[in-house]
Symmetry: C2
Amino acid sequence: MSQPVILASGSSIRRDLLERAGLEFEVLPAKVDEEAIRNALEAENAAPDEIADALAAFKAQRVAEKRPEALVIGCDQVLAHRGKILAKPATIDDARAQLRALRGGRHQLMSAVVIYDDLQPLWRHVGTVTLTMRPFSDTYLTEYLERNWNSIRHAVGAYKLEEEGVRLFSAIEGDYFDVLGLSLLPLLTFLTTRGVLKA
Amino acid sequence: MSQPVILASGSSIRRDLLERAGLEFEVLPAKVDEEAIRNALEAENAAPDEIADALAAFKAQRVAEKRPEALVIGCDQVLAHRGKILAKPATIDDARAQLRALRGGRHQLMSAVVIYDDLQPLWRHVGTVTLTMRPFSDTYLTEYLERNWNSIRHAVGAYKLEEEGVRLFSAIEGDYFDVLGLSLLPLLTFLTTRGVLKA
């Protein structure tokens, strides 16, 4: 009777957040070539929030094509610095260069959610968190990279806030859940308005 | 050679946050009669942030008396609503009354940290997060309490943000770590300035 809800993401933290909130849903990760889409959008000078939104929408759409009767939730998070998106560091020298560029300044984490219904986008939201890195020394940076490279080699921005990476920062401002990569409160509010969750 | 650091708190989440950040420290939970101190301060019309700060200071001081040579970190978190502190709900009817009072409005979580050195307070900080509850229905409230009472009976405000309690909210504004009960970034910044952590 009630419309099924599908999370089109393989992220365990997003699944956790929604499960803990008591939402009933299936998980069906979307297979899209994120890098190709990102590169194409960047070539068209799309802004970081537009890219995050487009990636979330692509993922929702891909799963909606298989399950048009469901509400499909697509998600994405990007790191934006001076209007550009940062990629994962390929080498430890890449990571050093990224962190030197971010050092002493602000950057943003942008979390996008798009919901598809009957093959159409029904609702979308982008939440932005602003992070300020402290002016750490080159000596500290070298030691940080040596201690953490194995863990941060797949992390955009070359840090994990739940590890030593937090010591790179002096301030984090924004919605609590946007740091985690899912705008949980706007999403739950929408699902409540829609009648999926009890008001 | 270097000054020992002691966390005067038994909270596993605070210990986790500091361990993950790579700080070296001992844990020595302070034994203080929190309820008696809180009641005494409320009787003197102390503001919620003053009460959180005083409780954090009492805990740091108590451990500093045993270990005056160490840097001792005391912590506390209170829930403030209209200038008053909320206690844990004693019964399910208490919980219902608390949530009805908070419903549709804003309240604050205040996280205090005080560091003692040589029996004196050396540094202190209070971080405030503002939370907005949505205007949920009485029917939802009843079902929420039935489903969650066993888990929230020891939770101030009768909710846990990491469980269904998040569905009571429409917005959470403030520092990410203050939601978790420890102003991690100001604390790490102080420890870096002090030379405990490398700059």
